[in-house]
């Protein structure tokens, strides 16, 4: 490693070390109430228990179930509608700005509506997750299919391509990188909105666990769950990034 790289790493590591140490001192001496910041040792113990006892499995499976269904909806609807819109310049000019504007709204405000229709169960989380995940997928699908380099299509046409072979051999591979990016962003939004929905109103799922322990003032357990969610989020994001890169030919 070069000199400057070492220095950079050193600074970064020391930043974390400082936070760590400060936390440790503050919590051990109780200068900050343990209701706000629990002792590091307690968090570690609770986290270990969490993993070991398998208590985390049930809420995790609820959240994952909601995530899978919501993402599936977002992909199916977003991709099909996006493809159909991309088939005509007129439709693209009509709908792309519309979807774009709708995407600018924090769609989570519709969550109370979802709670009204679907109750506190997984249904409302799936609804809000599908709604939020839909937009990046549809926008990127429109963009991907709608802006395929005309040169590729011209040359394919000259060789006799049309219909399904044209779609399979030209449109789809050309559009795939952009569409996969849309899937990645949609997936992340699904995840965040679902955990958010579980926090705001739910009786199950990972988000709900955090609320439960917060309200019970069992802060170290709450932190254990926060760490757990961050790890799950990291794993899921890495998976999704990896799949996106696989489809990218640039």
């Amino acid at each position: 490693m070069t000199d400057s790289k070492i220095r950079i790493r050193l600074i970064q590591v020391s930043m974390f070390a400082v936070i760590f140490v400060a936390w440790f001192i503050a919590t051990e001496t109780e200068s900050v109430s343990n209701l706000f910041l629990p002792k590091l040792g307690d968090v570690a113990t609770d986290f270990r228990d969490l993993i070991g006892s398998g208590d985390a499995w049930s809420p995790l499976s609820v959240t994952l179930f909601e995530l899978v269904v919501a993402f599936f909806n977002a992909v199916v609807f977003g991709t099909s509608i996006g493809y159909l819109v991309s088939r005509s310049k007129f439709l693209m000019r009509a709908f792309e700005p519309m979807f774009s504007s709708m995407f600018a709204v924090p769609l989570i405000i519709f969550y109370p509506l979802a709670l009204l229709f679907f109750g506190l169960g997984p249904g409302s989380k799936i609804a809000i997750g599908s709604a939020l995940g839909f937009f990046p997928v549809v926008l990127n699908t429109i963009n991907g299919f709608g802006h395929v380099d005309a040169g590729y299509m011209r040359v394919a046409r000259s060789m006799g391509a049309k219909g399904f072979p044209m779609f399979r051999r030209v449109l789809l591979p050309a559009a795939l990188p952009i569409i996969l990016t849309g899937y990645r962003i949609g997936f992340i939004l699904c995840f965040l909105s679902i955990v958010g929905g579980e926090t705001i109103g739910s009786f199950s799922g990972l988000g709900h666990q955090i609320v439960y322990y917060a309200e019970s003032m069992l802060t170290s357990m709450m932190f254990a769950y926060i760490i757990f969610i961050v790890i799950i989020a990291y794993i899921l994001n890495s998976l999704v990034f990896y799949m996106e890169r696989k489809g990218n030919y640039y």
């Binding site: 590729y152 040359v155 000259s158 060789m159 006799g160 051999r169």
Partner: protein, 281 residues
């Protein structure tokens, strides 16, 4: 496959007509469009079987449009186009193959897969595709790079790959739209010589669009000079040299004179084209 090396291709003596374009007019945009453009104005030409016809002219004169019309990619506003005996009504993958300047190889497939997919589009049976593809790559000396991606090979190699793909389709006619336009001069020279050698070994009909005067004289049997937009034919020159062309042909007096004649014809048209552009802006 005839050996026509030292024989002058005298195209006017009772040769068959490969492509016939009669009174072709093409207008882009509707009548209410402010940006309506007449690309071609009542233009006619016959391309003879086995010849290499060069289309040369100032920017925007419609040479690419004419090429696309010949190949069935564009329907002309008026006029009739025939390939052989048949009227042109759309792309003719069995009769006509294109080579373009850019964006013609699919970056998501390897070089050999690019050729194979072309054969798939044309309708060649699956078992034959791979062999034909590799043969075509061998013919242009690219067999070592068949499994590379277009992004990994040079510009000259990409154009050779495109040529291989076009050749693999085994069409009678090759339409080439400034295929060497994006390449540096040295690569252009080499590829031009290779094309001439290839020509001598086949009896393909080639229509070749270019900006380069030297390239036109070196490669063509006939050079058709187009005027500034709206495109009409100003003159058609016969080069009268056999294929394969000796690289030394470029140093000959005959070559120089033809090139200068072309220059004279084109200079005014280029001026007109540029002034026309300036007037619009």
């Amino acid at each position: 496959m005839q050996q026509t090396s030292a024989i002058t291709r005298n195209a006017n003596e009772g040769s068959e007509i490969a492509i016939h374009a009669g009174n072709v007019t093409h207008i882009f945009g509707s009548d209410t469009d402010a940006q309506q453009v007449t690309a071609l104005d009542d233009i006619s030409i016959d391309v003879f079987k086995g010849e290499l016809l060069c289309l040369i002219g100032p920017s925007g004169c419609g040479k690419s449009t004419l090429l696309n019309i010949m190949g069935g990619l564009i329907d002309p506003t008026r006029g009739d186009v025939q390939v052989g005996a048949a009227k042109v009504a759309g792309p003719m993958p069995h009769d006509v193959a294109f080579v373009f300047q850019e964006s013609a190889l699919f970056p998501w497939s390897t070089v050999v897969d690019n050729v194979i997919v072309a054969l798939e589009f044309q309708g060649v049976p699956k078992e034959e595709r791979s062999a034909r593809a590799w043969n075509a790559l061998e013919a242009v000396d690219l067999a070592d790079f068949g499994n590379h991606y277009p992004g990994q090979i040079s510009g000259g190699m990409k154009q050779r790959a495109q040529l291989a793909r076009a050749l693999s389709l085994e069409t009678e006619i090759l339409l080439m739209d400034e295929p060497f336009g994006a390449l540096d001069e040295q690569t252009r020279m080499i590829l031009g010589e290779d094309l001439s050698v290839m020509l001598s070994k086949t009896d393909k009909t080639i229509v070749f669009v270019t900006h380069s005067l030297a390239e036109a004289v070196f490669l063509a049997d006939r050079v058709a000079v187009m005027s500034a937009r709206p495109g009409k034919f100003k003159e058609i020159i016969e080069v009268g040299e056999g294929h394969p062309r000796d690289p030394d042909f470029m140093l000959s007096e005959k070559f120089g004179k033809m090139r200068n004649d072309l220059y004279g014809m084109l200079h005014d048209e280029i001026r007109k084209a540029v002034d026309g552009e300036n007037a619009q802006t």
